[in-house]
């Protein structure tokens, strides 16, 4: 079960021609796929494309009505390999994953697919995790399109353009027998907007029917001698046909006046930011009417040379707005102009920064600089920077505002694992720690500060390969359950077995791919009617030959995690030592249990709700507990006491009673100020009676002592 349910929203997928669709970009893409008569869909979750996978999972009823097959693929490679169904069969298929990391994983299948080409339209929808809020390294998917000769669509980020790009993409793919990539930036995936819907189409040939009449043609096989022919065919046939198709069907757009001294060429995805900057410069209005000629590349690969050269005609200079580096598009355009001997100057990077996201202020500076240099009248300065005109100075707060890094959620079951690891480090000495991709990567940030590398999904243990031989202290690596099934079982665990690794591998099992939004995987504990779950990680690990395996079924037991880690680091057993530490992702668990709990309490059932607290008189304000926690719910407060300089620990109402505070205080021998208080809803008669008796006896003892001593009662705060 995913973190977010789209069960309500997917009903919109049924609407027909003429009706208005309102919703998130990802949902609109799904609708467009159905309108295009897609025969099968799949992909692998990851921001910003996770919701597409969630939407598809929640839309299975509608998909099956239409005869569309949906696979939750094991990885991006598996997803792209699935597009093989479009190689021989005239069936449209689409898969989604994040870029560029997913494209990296997919690239083996992508190269094979691209070589032989396709019969049915094949589309990879890539959510580009680039710029602010990104969780990964910053690269471009563009290079993959170029090296494999597949076409890259980068539509304007509104629902109408994005859904049109899905239609155009399939047609382009079929016309050129080439797979296409539809690239969507992170905000476009989550943009809320509207477009006019069309009727859904059943696939003309379903994958089920295709099985009745298998087809093959060695011509499509990506191996010599055909592969040599494919290489020639790519440049002599498919590419020119693609350029023709793009121009004939007007996939790229010319906007604004035809003539002008200057023009702007932009990736479709940059359109809204460019238009807002032009509006601020007084050169465009809110409805997209520009006074500067624009050439919008909804297809950024291949480039249509004739279109570009005609755009340059009569212009002194054009600015190429191309986000990311290297600047492939600008280089290509520069070379076209040079070959043609045109006087037009092609500019881009320089006015725009070489690297980094093109945020509005960057774009505004670049456009105003370019336009000013080329003699376009300067715009109203009040419009450009309204806060420049007689605005009172704003105090500099850069030193006052603390950096807020992300971290483990309240009650996260991974926190105690790293608390234990930190305790082990403190006891035995620092270890070489390799991390992986997933929520557990937060271990590299405060308060844990553990681990220094991450080489890719499922590659944590593999990235410790050079240390497999061992040394004074064993290397530790971390891998999540998501990475484990994605790639890790063979690439990391198998690798460690084969090479007789001396290292310790911690598999963090939280029952989901939690970082991507809680999608089910093979070892998820939930019963899922359309997926086979509940497959054992430990079983798989043993199956590939690991001899030393320990399972921890409650990660909050910090003492046990610490002792198990210590055992793994000191045992004389040869070969990799694998610890599978399992507890359910708290975010998903709360989402699942809260409504159930409320219902049970309403039904009069006995329910125990735990919460932690801190005795403020006992806490000395040293914050050692926080250096082993970082829980958002474990915070601080200033006591109303002139004798105390430092704030004490306090637990806020967000606490879910996971137990980490108490367990850490115990394992690290911190202090006795933590207490757990369980509220018992609908207690039984015996429980009530026992509580009443205890409370009375206790109150009598308390009165007895209070009578013999002085007590100072602070007026309780309201």
């Amino acid at each position: 079960m995913a973190e977010r349910s789209f069960a309500k929203e997917v009903e919109q997928l049924r609407i027909g021609a003429g009706q208005e669709f309102r919703g998130e970009g990802i949902l609109a893409i799904t609708k467009a796929l159905l309108e295009c008569g897609v025969g099968y869909v799949g992909g692998y979750q990851g921001a910003p494309i996770s919701h597409l996978m969630d939407v598809l999972a929640d839309a299975q009823e509608i998909l099956s009505e239409l005869g569309v097959r949906f696979e939750a693929n094991a990885s991006e490679a598996a997803a792209t390999a699935m597009l093989a169904a479009s190689v021989h069969y005239p069936i449209r298929g689409a898969v989604a994953f994040k870029g560029p990391v997913g494209v990296n994983v997919a690239s083996d299948a992508l190269a094979n697919l691209a070589s032989g080409g396709v019969t049915g339209g094949a589309m990879m929808i890539v959510g580009e995790d680039y710029g602010e809020g990104s969780a990964i390294m910053q690269e471009r998917t563009h290079a993959f399109a170029m090296k494999s000769q597949v076409w890259l669509l980068d539509p304007r980020p509104n629902l109408t353009s994005m859904t049109k790009a899905v239609r155009d993409g399939f047609e382009l793919s079929e016309a050129t027998e080439t797979p296409v990539i539809l690239e969507l930036r992170i905000r476009a995936c989550h943009v809320h907007g509207a477009f006019e819907a069309r009727d859904n189409q059943r696939p003309p040939l379903s994958v089920k029917d295709a099985l009745s009449a298998p087809r093959r043609s060695t011509e499509r096989l990506a191996m010599p001698p055909f592969a040599f022919r494919h290489e020639q065919e790519k440049v002599s046939k498919r590419w020119p046909r693609a350029v023709e198709f793009i121009m004939e069907n007007g996939l790229n757009e010319f906007m604004g006046p035809k003539a002008g001294k200057v023009g702007i060429v932009l990736q479709g995805g940059m359109y809204n930011t460019v238009m807002r900057s032009l509006r601020r410069l007084g050169l465009a209005d809110l409805n997209g009417n520009s006074q500067i000629p624009l050439y919008v590349l909804n297809v950024t690969y291949p480039l249509a040379e004739a279109e570009f050269l005609s755009f340059c005609d009569g212009k002194d200079a054009v600015l190429v707005v191309e986000e990311g580096q290297p600047n492939y598009i600008e280089q290509a355009f520069g070379s076209m102009v040079h070959r043609k001997g045109l006087p037009t100057r092609v500019q881009g990077k320089g006015y725009l920064p070489m690297a980094g996201e093109y945020q509005p202020d960057v774009m505004l500076d670049a456009l105003s600089g370019f336009l000013a240099d080329n003699g376009v009248p300067a715009a109203d300065p009040r419009q450009r920077a309204p806060n420049d005109t007689a605005a009172p100075p704003v105090p500099d707060l850069s030193a006052a505002v603390p950096v807020r890094t992300p971290g483990f959620c309240v009650g996260c079951p991974e926190r105690p694992i790293f608390a234990a690891m930190k305790l082990v480090d403190q006891k035995i000495g620092p270890h070489q720690i390799a991390c992986d991709i997933g929520c557990h990567l937060f271990s590299i940030l405060p308060p844990f500060d553990l681990g220094g590398t991450t080489m890719g999904f499922g590659l944590g243990p593999a990235s410790n390969g050079a240390f497999d031989g061992g040394g004074e202290r064993r290397p530790i690596s971390v891998i999540g359950d998501g990475g484990f099934w994605h790639n890790g079982l063979a690439t990391s665990i198998g690798n460690a077995v084969l090479n007789q690794s001396d290292g310790v591998i911690v598999v963090v099992d939280n029952y989901y791919t939690a970082a991507t939004g809680g999608q089910d995987i093979m070892s998820s504990r939930a019963e899922n009617p359309t997926r086979a779950t509940n497959n054992s990680i430990a079983g798989a690990v043993k199956g590939v030959g690991v001899k030393w395996v320990r399972e921890i079924d409650r990660t909050y037991d910090v003492t046990k995690v610490r002792d198990t880690l210590t055992e793994a680091l000191t045992t004389s057993v040869k070969g990799p030592k694998v610890i599978v530490a399992s507890s359910e992702c708290m975010l998903n668990r709360q989402r699942r249990e809260r409504p159930q709990r409320a219902a049970a309490i309403g039904d009069g059932k006995r329910v125990v709700v735990p919460k932690f607290g801190v005795d403020e008189d006992i806490c000395t304000g040293d914050h050692a507990c926080m250096r082993l926690s970082g829980c958002p719910s474990l915070t601080m407060k200033t006591l109303d006491d002139p004798l105390r300089d430092d704030p004490v620990a306090a637990i806020d109402d967000g606490c879910v009673g996971c137990g980490n505070c108490g367990e850490v205080a115990d394992a690290a021998v911190l202090c006795p100020s933590f207490f757990q208080v369980d509220t018992v809803h609908n207690p039984g008669w015996f429980e009530r009676w026992y509580a009443r008796v205890s409370t009375r006896a206790i109150a009598a003892l308390q009165r007895r002592r209070a009578k013999k001593r002085l007590t100072f009662e602070k007026a309780e705060m309201a």
């Binding site: 997209g288 603390p402 005795d615 202090c671 006795p672």
Partner: protein
């Protein structure tokens, strides 16, 4: 007649009526819901709207931004931006005060156009919590800047308003936004969005209404409440209360700032032990005040006497098992636990205490001679440690565990004859003597000596590390004493001890001091 915002003025004079709105939040605050509401309100009231966000890891407790643009629906497509631009935002809604500060820093809040609607409460960042001393960023700096930075400001502690109404902060944010008048929609339009969401509507509307009213009534820049401290009441047998009055009266001899501090100190000491222990405290503070006077303390604002009153009280009230057991078994503490989970007197609670005593603590609980003997013998000490050193979870709401803790708390009357008291007394006396001996030579150094006591806190390992830091600071003070920049070095020693958990930082400062102190050994 429908209700209109009090001072409704169009947020800006653009012909196309574009309104830009950024929501700055801490991941997990629920501002995705707020975003959906605002879009729905705009669309239901003749506007086209677009929202974007960047879901992903930043939403796991990091700083995150949602962005909305809207314009009157003229039938034509509008091209909305997907990203907020500095200097171009009409409304900034912030779920936390430092996020409002970040909005100002990033240029989203500008004096000529931005309406800033912010909660003034704090959600601490992890970096602020890790410091052994007080690492919290000062929100007063940001609070002071809000009014200057924004064109129109609505600021209130919305977390409190939400809690008072038993609801969630997003309802208050929406209420404050509606009340600010920055959006051209009527109150009923906002309330309709809350009603449509369908969960906890009653409480949500109350929270909305409360925040709306505060925003309308110009509860601008409402600062977080600072409660006045009332003098605590005193309860107990008549005889003890009379003795207390006599003892407390002796403090009247103290000069002003020290007297208030000593009052709090005396209460703490008597609460910890008894009136005799309190008398010890009073004697010592009065003697210290005399010494302060002799050293010209009046001109220094009686800093020495005040610091003595504070740190001596803390030194006298060391954290032993008896104190922990005593505090955990009090009636007031039981009431506080109930309040913590908002439980009434009838509710059934189960309270578990997390304790982990070691041989050190048990030794401290023994009669002085025995405790000393065991601690002196590594073999006996290890044996004892093996017996006691383990995590113990006590159900203090049940009689067996309560009686155990109650009994331990009752050992209070023997405390002065136990081994821990000997250790603490010796340490305290040495520290006091050192401070007093410095008083006549170097007033600032004497204060620094007293203040080093702040480093001793926590339990077990943390406590011993605190002791080590204390020793390092005192060693450093001894080296710099007599130098002109001694006070400066004293501050550096304390800062490095308080800002870094590890001992190494303050040892580094000491090493630096050594490097120059050894060159020119002071006479």
């Amino acid at each position: 007649m429908s209700e209109h915002p009090r001072h409704f003025t169009p947020a800006r004079t653009d012909d196309d009526g574009l309104i830009t709105l950024a929501i700055l939040a801490v991941g997990g605050q629920g501002c995705g819901q707020l975003t959906d509401w605002i879009v729905a309100i705009a669309e239901a009231n003749g506007y086209r709207a677009q929202s974007t966000s960047v879901p992903g890891v930043a939403q796991r407790t990091g700083a995150t931004i949602y962005y909305i643009e809207m314009a009157p629906d003229t039938g034509a497509e509008a091209v909305f931006s997907l990203m907020p631009a500095p200097g171009d935002i009409d409304i900034v809604v912030s779920g936390e005060i430092m996020e409002a500060g970040r909005g100002i820093e990033r240029g989203f809040v500008t004096p000529l156009r931005t309406t800033l609607v912010t909660s003034t409460h704090r959600v601490l960042a992890i970096s602020e919590k890790l410091v052994p001393g007080d690492g919290r960023a000062d929100s007063a700096v940001v609070l002071a800047a809000l009014d200057q930075a924004a064109n129109h400001l609505v600021a209130m502690d919305m977390e409190r308003v939400a809690a008072e109404n038993g609801s969630h902060i997003t309802n208050c944010l929406l209420g404050a936004l509606a009340g600010s008048g920055a959006l051209p929609f009527e109150r009923a339009a906002f309330e309709a969005a809350i009603r449509a969401s369908g969960r906890g509507v009653g409480a949500a509307l109350r929270a909305f209404g409360d925040a709306y009213a505060r925003a309308q009534n110009g509860a601008e820049a409402e600062m977080p409440a600072v409660a006045e401290t009332p003098e605590p009441g005193i309860a107990g047998p008549e005889l003890l209360r009379r003795e207390w009055a006599a003892l407390a009266a002796r403090l009247d001899a103290l000069p002003d700032p020290a007297r208030a501090m000593a009052g709090a100190g005396l209460r703490k000491v008597v609460d910890f032990q008894d009136l005799r222990y309190g008398a010890l405290y009073v004697d010592c503070v009065l003697r210290g005040a005399e010494a302060d006077r002799a050293a010209g303390g009046e001109a220094q604002g009686w800093t020495y006497a005040t610091a003595l009153a504070k740190h001596l009280a803390n030194a006298l009230c060391y954290d032993d098992i008896i104190r922990v057991a005593d505090l955990k078994t009090r009636g007031t503490r039981f009431a506080r636990v109930r309040a913590h989970v908002q439980a009434d007197d009838a509710a059934v609670l189960a309270v578990t205490e997390y304790m982990h005593p070691r041989a050190e603590e048990i030794c401290g609980l023994m009669p002085a001679a025995l405790g000393r003997r065991i601690e002196a013998s590594p073999r006996l000490f290890r044996l004892l440690d093996r017996m006691v050193n383990k995590g113990r979870r006590l159900r203090s709401g049940r009689l067996p565990a309560f009686v155990l803790l109650y009994g331990l708390g009752g050992l209070r009357r023997f405390r002065r004859s136990l081994w821990r008291d000997r250790v603490e007394s010796a340490h305290r006396e040495a520290w006091l003597t050192l401070a007093e001996s410095r008083l006549n030579r170097d007033y600032a150094m004497a204060i620094a000596t007293l203040e080093a006591r702040r480093l001793i806190k926590g339990y077990s390992d943390t406590h011993s590390r605190g002791h080590s830091k204390f020793d390092v600071v005192l060693a450093g003070l001894a080296l710099v004493e007599g130098r002109r920049d001694a006070a400066d070095w004293a501050r550096r020693l304390m800062d490095s001890a308080l800002n870094t958990p590890e001992l190494s930082a303050v040892e580094g400062t000491l090493a630096t001091i050594r490097s120059f102190a050894d060159d020119k050994a002071p006479a």
